[in-house]
């Protein structure tokens, strides 16, 4: 399969450039990746400290910890931001290393759905415990 940006007789330069990389909405992606990264700096410190200290805690202790509004709120913020950031990051890696156009689109959509499903499962579980 010819790549979208490869030269063929009938393709104009514009047709080769649009819809790919920065000809799409690269600036928004770039910004979103940075903003989510900045938000994650304090959240990751909190999450790392909490999770490592909670390993070995029994079910009652864990659910009691997660039921505290501050922990539930921070955990949901951490989950939403992390999964969003992961989707953005994986998207770049796939765009860079998967060259077959059809496979690339399948992987791009697949990873988005996959992480969206995991993220919702996390958020639902947190709410179920906290509420």
């Amino acid at each position: 399969m010819k790549m979208k940006w490869e030269k063929t007789d009938k393709k104009s330069d514009m047709a080769r450039a649009t819809g790919l990389g920065s000809a799409g909405d690269g600036t928004h992606h770039w910004m979103a990746q940075r903003v989510s990264a900045i938000a994650l700096v304090p959240l990751v410190f909190w999450a790392l400290w909490s999770v490592v200290n909670l390993v070995g805690a029994d079910h009652a202790a864990f659910t009691e910890w997660l039921s505290a509004p501050i922990n539930a709120i921070l955990m949901i913020l951490f989950i939403v931001t992390t999964f969003y950031h992961a989707v953005l990051g994986n998207q770049v890696v796939i765009e860079d290393y998967v060259h077959c156009e059809c496979l690339k689109i399948a992987k791009l959509i697949g990873q988005k759905l996959f992480f969206a499903a995991l993220g919702v499962a996390c958020a639902f579980s947190i709410l179920q415990i906290a509420l």
Partner: protein
């Protein structure tokens, strides 16, 4: 107009940058690759986080099962790897954020920053695991 477009799409020899294979592993290249590798690894690690939260919501039985895996030496090794990868990606990410502002973006500062990221990763991982380590040793 159309003749202009045609002339711009005629093929010409472009300069080719050296292939990856001929490089050694300079620090900044290793840092860049590690940033991506840890990013992908961490996103796969999110499956374990989801498992923990879903198990906790499902009740004590499923939760205990998860903790059995998590406290097993292999589970602890994964958790240790997760903390190393997360600290590395965090500090390396901050280095990238600084560069995004246009500051410190030269070879010398990139090297200093790279070493600082590695040191911070080691120090913070040690600090995080220190209480556990003490528990095992005593």
């Amino acid at each position: 107009m159309s003749s202009e477009m045609n002339s711009s799409s005629t093929s010409y020899e472009k300069p080719l940058s050296p292939h990856l294979g001929i490089y050694g592993w300079p620090l900044n290249m290793a840092m860049s690759i590690l940033h991506r590798a840890t990013g992908v690894a961490l996103s796969i690690g999110l499956i374990a986080l989801t498992w923990l939260l879903v198990a906790a919501a499902s009740g004590p039985e499923k939760y205990d099962q998860f903790m059995e895996y998590a406290t097993h030496p292999i589970g602890q090794l994964f958790l240790f790897g997760w903390t190393v990868a997360l600290y590395f990606h965090l500090f390396s990410g901050v280095r990238h954020l600084v560069w995004d502002t246009g500051k410190l973006f030269n070879l010398r500062n990139a090297k200093i920053g790279g070493i600082a990221v590695l040191l911070a990763t080691v120090i913070f991982t040690a600090l995080t695991w220190w209480p556990k380590l003490e528990g095992w040793l005593s």
